[in-house]
Point group: D2
């Protein structure tokens, strides 16, 4: 079939009291907007230049206040925008409703929907026949390629936000299956450093703390994976006086963690020593029934990677003699010997799916979304020049966003003199 | 008057659905209890030995799950316990109800009551004619001394939890006004290090982050005061990659902060540079109309000290042309030039009064409350040997609690040999 | 001319007491060798397989104990080796003599020689007609290209150790002037992370401390440049409780430093605030007479970049009314108003040219030199397959070295299961 | 005997070229003086007021440049000063000679003397019949009490610099054996924080690094003892990216280290895991033949405590099949199975006795010696009011020094208002 025909209401039709929700959502978005100086700058430009006029942007993102600021910006730039969630637990219904109430924006995102409704919402967005896709986890790109390939001809390109999504897109690209250009927003220096390291690091730890009421000082925190997210979680946990153990499969990352002063070992060894386990790998089966039986009573397991497959909950369920909600957002699995293993947010992304979750910090998303916005603009302006496949965001765009941020912070840099440029470009100076 | 005659219902009578509240409260307390190994150990002993049999303990504490574990422990030790809050915004009604539902415990604590009801609840506790008082901020001790001095004859002694309370008790003691012995629980090495440094540090930052959705990386965080709490807040904020500025009035503390690598300056200078301000002084008027007009648009002010007087909100109100709730728990004051100053939790203790507040971390309070419990036991067993006034908790009790904790963590120490003891005690060894 | 005809004695001929020097040098090399597990492993392989048989390796490196361990390894692999220094102040004469005394090795390096002798020593090495060059700063590659181009035909390839050297080689490559393949050893993940970040960071700070007897706690340390070296210096200085200010010309690096919690500003602003200035840019004129007049009395200037041009000493000399040796390795420049500016190691690399300099830490160089060794082996084995120009070290070689190191440290990793590999390679999993 | 009659020449008589030594020593002292702003300020006052006129100060300190600045200050204040070393390996002969060449100062200190000469030098100082003693390790106080008790009548009082010395003095005091008042300079907040934590921490690590050429990144550093010195060493080692293990005998200190994020265990367990061991206990037999056989090949042992008894070298010698000087300042003990244990500086204080040792950093000693100076002044002015025994330095003096330092750094504090003072002194404010 060429275009989805699914009937699916936008969020406002499904709420009991949409007016209050819109008001609450609007207030949340305003707070975000006020703390997003990069989007603030870009909005002035987008409103003036209307770079997205005539385009339709389909988004599958975590629908909360910061994403809303990006969504508004794209609409302000002239696009028609349709949006839904990229994780059933990360949507804020009030924000979704406040977006849906705006001219040029339709939102289908609803918190806590089942898998069927989740995918129907994605189809509803696709039904708008987007010319540009913006994904966080490539669910929309995948759905279009699998089910609505006829739409691909009119798609200029897409953006992908996450490590995991980019990883999977590259696999798809290698298989020759990716049929339009996609910017690996995740892979920009700005995104990797700030969103993955600082954003995931701070937000994951704060969410775990505020869900469990536990502290990090003196705790042994096991961080699975030492990519950008793992690096951030490990660094921030150490900064809260935890003892951090890192597990890895890659020798260079493992060595890097070791040289940073972390203890590095395998999960089998770490299982019996950790108090808190945080997975950041983007892979599956990181903590399994090889490990559960070794764990201490009362351990806390949380996922800061991507999908809910890093902790193998099926195996844990199998092992457990009883489960119960120990606290809001904490499910306790009791093993036969009475020990309890506490899983946060059903193994989903803890910084997005915990009961108090606010997602990534505002300023962090300002940087990521600044790149998204200029990448979307680039697709419209120069999309023709990109072949189908995964593309790095052009360096000049990434730098543009960094400069915008530094200006907003009032930070002054040195400037290369001509002599310095010449020196850096030369090779005939001696000792 | 010798005993309060106030009629004041316990919490269950004031709730719409006390049964659900009790159930919710019970579940919260169970989580706390499971993560408090010191209280766990002591409970076995208290249940067996009934050291508090015949005593009445009057408590004015933050009534939430961890305090409840202490309250239960005291009751398990044989005491009759009456409890109320020490801050109108820190009570969890469900926990209060769950306590009140237990044999031997009456709880008057209710969240959000006005000043009048707050003090009536304290009077209601005093109406139980406590033989031992346990305070967090000395409100109960003060009320007894001011209004019910006749009760003092039968009071064995008291415990005070906070820096500020101990400070005020010492002032009272110096004035010759303190008429029974009070243990300065706050001043034990265990309490100062763990509760003030780690507990206040981690909890304040997590609460601010989860109330505002802001991050610390790259932020300028101004910490007012470099006592134990300030030290913790500064250290943990640095550990989240903030740039930290410390303000102080004491030269040695200022020098200590300077030598630690923090920037140290006065508040007038810091006012224009900070993004987030956290007061930890226990004093009043730390941030005033000398400073508000210098601040950047969108700054966040939070209090991690004690009372809500550290930020002078009257003056801020005076300056503001408009105020509104920017987010739950965040009040925005808009100045005449459009700049906004965001105050968290009405200037009250952010880690106790923010909308997501859980109070100090569980394990931190396990340590503080372990000391409270053995201090209460000491008052019953040896109260006669203490004169009226502020007393340090005997060192042996503090060490007892440290050892209990290390045992629970499975940490093994070295042991001094006889030769080493002799060496340390001698003075005639040469170079 | 096609081959240098310079007469230049090897180091032993120039020492008063070569036997003692050889003995001292041998002891120094033995210490290094004992703490270089990667070279230890590779040596067993090289001795057995003789991969370099028939080759002549010309080296221009810092001639001290660690480099000696690499030199011995190359000789053990079957090569004839000729070596000289890459910085007149970094040579240890005893190590140079101990190398020269070994079968198959000739060393021309001598500490403190003048420019003329320095370049004559390079020519002497070139006179051996190397088939492989190993540089630290590309002086040998430059000399061959400029003065002995006829030799290029028989050169298989080269290795370059430093950021600055690689930078200049790329410039040369872009100009179409680089006529044989050169591995950018500096650019391997292993080298950048460990040598630049940890090695330069730790060694620079320790050398400054041990030359000046000053401490970092409470000091304001200005780090010019936030590349890998600057990152290391800044991180380690913060870890010693300094207040760190970073200066940069690149917006992304500046933003990264800002997000890490450092103060970022321009040198003009930093000049008046720093106590210690450390340049790490690889560029010239970082600190100039724009900045000297603003500096505090007694400031310390040190270079951890590459050449002695980062601090403009000509301008400083011009400004000074008097200069003297304030301590060994510290030259004090007195300005007209009496303020003194202290320059370490004549503005040369402080971790190599200070009076107590030992160069980079042993284990750090073990990693860098492990890569050098396998890169030289690769040139011999597969040199034909590389075109003239700058090449990245093949990833497999870099990983080989990381694995060797982890094995030596006894660190155990997790291993990807087939299911995990399949998952990471797939793109059709949903949420 | 009442006064020593030992004939012992001052240092100048024992040097081959005293004039060069004096010149070198003078230059070293000038560098120190220039970086000691507190002594600089006090010197102006002492020269003007001559508070020590008529007194004789006997000193047994580490005789190097910083101590010299204190010595000069005391002489400038009107005292006659006689000085010798407090550790045979920490004296700089040139500094000793430069002191001895000054009006009013006699120095007997000589590097590397044997035990007999060491104690004869102390006797030579005592021969000056000091009215005030200044000790670093209480050797002089002990000698006076044991051998020259008749002198005690004319002694006004003394100062003791070290943790260990104060500990032993307190033991002596408890035995009723201490017969004149001694200020526990070590116990002032200023000294404990800055000298012990920052000074010992930074200097020990830099000396170990510059003696061994090893780095800390990725190393396992075992710190024995978590008093102020251990705390500093652990913190700074972590700040260089080491993995730190702490051993302790005291439960509260152990718990504090645990809560800081360090691994805490006993030495038996740590022995097999450490790469570098640093003792900071002030006790004996911390590392013994219980531990040597468990250690890894090539480990480094260093002492940052006080005496050379923390590592039991007799037992190590016993175990070793061979010993040799592996590097300058490093003695390698080879065990029967070929493993080597490297001991730095003969087990003496590594920051004072390593081959490159400069002692504590200049600014750190400025603070400690500022307190020494005002404490000596206090003894002269108010010595009568102190009974025999160990005394804390009056708080006002400690604060005076802190304020002097802050002024010198240009750091501005807040000032308590009258309302704030009243608030802090009151106890009747409510919530």
């Amino acid at each position: 079939m060429s275009t989805p025909t699914t009937e699916y209401d936008s969020i406002r039709a499904r709420l009991d009291d949409p007016e209050t929700a819109i008001e609450d959502g609007h207030r949340k978005i305003e707070w975000a907007r006020e703390h997003m100086p990069i989007l603030h700058e870009l909005r002035a430009e987008f409103e003036r230049d209307q770079p997205l006029a005539g385009e339709t942007v389909g988004m599958a993102m975590h629908v909360e206040a910061k994403t809303a600021a990006l969504t508004e910006l794209l609409a302000a730039g002239g696009a028609e925008v349709a949006i839904t969630g990229c994780n059933p637990l990360s949507t804020h219904d009030d924000v979704s409703a406040a977006l849906d109430a705006q001219e040029g924006i339709t939102s289908y995102a609803e918190r806590g929907v089942d898998d069927d409704a989740y995918y129907r919402a994605i189809e509803a967005v696709i039904g708008h026949e987007p010319t540009i896709t913006v994904d966080d986890g490539m669910d929309m790109i995948a759905a279009i390629h699998q089910d609505y390939p006829d739409l691909i001809d009119t798609i200029v390109g897409g953006c992908e936000e996450t490590t995991t999504g980019v990883h999977r897109l590259r696999a798809m690209d290698e298989d020759g299956e990716l049929r339009y250009p996609v910017f690996a927003v995740n892979d920009t220096p700005m995104k990797r450093q700030f969103d993955n390291v600082h954003g995931t690091g701070e937000a994951s730890l704060a969410n775990i703390a505020m869900t469990t009421n536990l502290s990090y000082a003196g705790k042994t925190v096991v961080v699975a994976g030492y990519g950008d997210c793992g690096r951030g979680v490990a660094k921030k946990a150490k900064g809260q006086n935890a003892h951090v153990i890192v597990t890895e499969v890659d020798p260079r990352r493992a060595l890097e963690a070791h040289m940073e002063g972390y203890e590095v070992t395998n999960m089998t060894d770490a299982a019996s020593r950790g108090d808190v386990f945080i997975t950041t790998t983007g892979n599956r089966d990181i903590i399994t029934d090889d490990h559960f039986p070794e764990m201490k009573d009362g351990v806390v397991l949380a996922n800061a990677g991507h999908f809910d497959v890093e902790v193998n909950l099926d195996q844990l369920e199998e092992l457990a003699v009883e489960t119960r909600e120990a606290r809001e957002g904490v499910k306790a699995y009791e093993l036969a010997d009475g020990r309890r293993i506490n899983v946060l947010a059903e193994g989903r992304l803890v910084n997005l799916a915990s009961p108090v979750a606010l997602g990534h910090p505002v300023e962090i998303m300002d940087q990521s979304f600044g790149i998204q916005a200029v990448a979307v603009r680039e697709l419209v302006e120069n999309g023709d020049s990109y072949e189908a496949g995964v593309h790095d965001v052009p360096d000049a765009l990434d730098r543009e966003v960094a400069e915008t941020k530094l200006d907003a912070e009032g930070i002054s840099l040195d400037t290369l003199t001509d002599e310095q440029r010449e020196y850096m470009g030369s090779w005939d100076h001696g000792t």
